[in-house]
C-alpha cells in the first residue's frame, strides 16, 4: 500500500528564534526537505524614506541609526557621505580619521553579533553568543565614550562629527586593540576547525560569483563567493586610500566562507584602526554651518561598505531644508534576493544556517 504523504507548510516567523527580528518565511516542507519558500517582508516597516522627506538633513542622521541597529555608525557614515557629496562639503581630516575608527569598530561589533548568532543558530547553546557579546560590549563602551550612546549613536553630522573623542578614549581604544586579536584567535580556534560546524556549513547554500553579482549581492556574502570587491578599496572614501589592509575572500561561497570572511575582516579592521590611531592628526572635527545645511538642487548617490554590504543613499534635493527624496539602498534587503534559490532543496536545518549566514537585519530590510 503506498503511503499517502503531503507537503507541510510552516510559517517560520514572524516570531521565531532564528529570524533576526520580525520576518516571516512561508516554507513548504516535504519531510525535512524544503521544497518551496517565500519570504514575507514588512513587519518592521517604519517608512524611513517618507519620514526623511519631512526632516532636516541633520535630523535624518538619527533616523539612519535605526536602519541597521547593529551598525549605526556605518549607517551614519553612509548618509553623511551621500550628503557631503551632494552639498560639496569638505570634511576636516581629523574627523575623517575618527569616522574610520568608529566605523571599523562598528564593523567588528557587527561581525561579532553575526558570529554569535550564526553559531547560536548552529546550535551552540548560547555559549558563543555570550563570548561574542562580551567582546562587543567593550566596543559599545568605546562608543559610549565617543558619543554617549551605545547602539543608536547619532555620532556623525554632515561635515564632520558631533564631538572630538574624549581624552580617556585613546587609552581604552589601545587596550581594546591589544586584546582583540587574541579574542579573534580564540573564536577561530573554537569554531573554525570544529568538524560539526564544518559539516553543517560546508557546501551549504553555495552562491556562485556570477549569480551573486547578477543578484546585486554585496558585502561579505559577495566576497565569500570569491569576488574581491570592497568599496573601501574600489572607491575609497574618507581616508581608506591611505590605509594598508587586505580584502579577504572565500573559495566556494558557502555558509562557512561567509563566516570565515567576516572573521578575517575583523582582523583587517583591527589593522585599520591601529593605523588610524598612529596617523591621526590634530585639528577640528566640525565644519561650520553644516548643521543647518541646505544643499543645492540636484541628486547624489553616496555609498559605503557597511558591515552587511554596500549601503547607499540616493538623495534628491530641491534646495530646501529637507531632502525631496531620500532612497536607501539597504544591503540586507537586496541580499535576500537569492534566498529562495539558495535554500530550496536543503534540509530545515540548512534553512536556518543559510538565512543566518546572510546576516540579514530586519531594521534594514523593512526600513
Amino acid at each position: 500500500m503506498p503511503i499517502r504523504t503531503e507537503p507541510v507548510t510552516i510559517n517560520l516567523g514572524p516570531q521565531h528564534p532564528s529570524t533576526h527580528g520580525v520576518f516571516r518565511l512561508r516554507v513548504t516542507f516535504d519531510g525535512e526537505e524544503v521544497i518551496d519558500l517565500e519570504p514575507v517582508f514588512g513587519y518592521l516597516h517604519r517608512g524611513t524614506e517618507k519620514l526623511a522627506e519631512e526632516r532636516t538633513y541633520t535630523q535624518i542622521v538619527t533616523l539612519t541609526d535605526r536602519l541597521d541597529y547593529e551598525s549605526a555608525m556605518s549607517n551614519n557614515l553612509g548618509y553623511v557621505t551621500a550628503l557631503e557629496k551632494l552639498g560639496g562639503i569638505e570634511v576636516p581630516e581629523r574627523a575623517m580619521y575618527l569616522r574610520v575608527i568608529s566605523v571599523e569598530l562598528q564593523r567588528i561589533a557587527s561581525h561579532l553579533v553575526f558570529t554569535g548568532f550564526f553559531l547560536q543558530e548552529l546550535g551552540t547553546f548560547v555559549t558563543m553568543l555570550m563570548y561574542c557579546f562580551r567582546e562587543r560590549e567593550r566596543i559599545l563602551d568605546l562608543f559610549e565614550m565617543l558619543c554617549g550612546a551605545r547602539i543608536t549613536v547619532s555620532y556623525m553630522r554632515p561635515g564632520g562629527l558631533t564631538q572630538d573623542a574624549p581624552s580617556d578614549f585613546w587609552p581604552a581604544l589601545n587596550d581594546f586593540l591589544e586584546d582583540m586579536p587574541g579574542y579573534i584567535d580564540e573564536l577561530e580556534e573554537l569554531i573554525t576547525r570544529n568538524e560539526i560546524v564544518l559539516s553543517r556549513t560546508r557546501d551549504v547554500g553555495v552562491l556562485d560569483p556570477e549569480v551573486a553579482i547578477d543578484a546585486s549581492i554585496s558585502g561579505p556574502i559577495l566576497r565569500a563567493s570569491g569576488v574581491q570587491w570592497d568599496l573601501r578599496k574600489a572607491d575609497p572614501y574618507e581616508i581608506y586610500s591611505e590605509m594598508d589592509f587586505e580584502i579577504p575572500i572565500g573559495a566556494t561561497g558557502d555558509c562557512f566562507d561567509r563566516y570565515i570572511v567576516r572573521l578575517q575582516e575583523m582582523r583587517e579592521s583591527v589593522k585599520i584602526i591601529k593605523q588610524c590611531v598612529d596617523k591621526i592628526p590634530d585639528g577640528t572635527v566640525k565644519t561650520d554651518g553644516a548643521f543647518f545645511m541646505r544643499p543645492p538642487e540636484g541628486d547624489a548617490y553616496g555609498c559605503v561598505e557597511a558591515p552587511r554590504g554596500e549601503l547607499g543613499f540616493y538623495i534628491v534635493s530641491d534646495g530646501g531644508i529637507s531632502p525631496y527624496r531620500c532612497k536607501i539602498r539597504s544591503p540586507s534587503f537586496i541580499n535576500t534576493t537569492m534566498l529562495r534559490d539558495m535554500i530550496v532543496g536543503g534540509k530545515m536545518s540548512d534553512l536556518i544556517v543559510i538565512f543566518g549566514s546572510l546576516a540579514v537585519n530586519m531594521g534594514e530590510v523593512d526600513r
Binding site: Q59, I60, E144, G148, T152, S154, Q163, P166, N194, E195
Partner: protein, 223 residues
Amino acid sequence: MYGTGIIRGLRITLKNLLLPSRMFTLHQYPDRKVGILWLAQNADINPLKYVLANPGKSIRAIIGLETVEDRQPKHPRFRGEEFTWYEQRCTGCASCAKYCPLGIIRIVTEPSGNAMPEGEKYGIEVFDIDIGRCMFCGLCVEACPYDALHLGSGFEEGTYKREELVIDIDRLRKSRKKPSTWFRPQLEEKSYDPGIGRDVDWTEAGRHESPSSDDQAAKWAKR
C-alpha cells in the same frame, strides 16, 4: 586529523570556565553578591580579623547572601534621561523644539520676562519633554545656543504610565542639576563626572565666560 577540531573547542570553553579574567566580565545590576575576601579587602583589614569583628556579616557572606550596590560605571558623556535645564540660561527661543526630530518638546512663552544676564528673555510657562518618545539623539542640546538644556545622566526612569514620562517644567526646575558632558566641552574640561560629581550651577554650565563690560566696549568700539 579529522575530529581534533571539536576537542580544541572543549579546551577553549574550559579556559573560559577557569580563567578569572574571562569569568567575571558581567556586571550584576543593581547589586552583586560579595564574598568575605572582598569585604575584608574593602574594609582594608585582614580577612581573619574581619571575621572576628563582624561574625554576622561574615556568615551571610559565606552562604552567599551579602550584597553590595554595584552599578555599571558610565561615561560622563552618557546621554541619559531626565534633562538638566537651567531656567536662568533659557531665553525661550525654542531652538530645541525646532531641532527635535520627533517634535516632542513643547514650549510656551510669555513676553513679559524679566531681564537676565544674557539679554532680554521670555518668561517660560510650559516646557514639556515627552521622553516616552525621546530617542536621546541630543539634537536639542546641540541646537541650544545658550547651553540652557543639557542631557541628564540617569537611566532609571521606569514608570507605570506613559503620561508620567512627560517631563514638565516643574520637574525640570526641581530635578538635580547633573548634566551629561555630551556636547558640553566646557564641562568636560573641568573633568566633571555626573556619576560621582556634584550639582552644576547655572553659572558654570555655559560655554562662554561672560565678558566684562570693558571687553565688550573694546570689541564693539573697533567696528
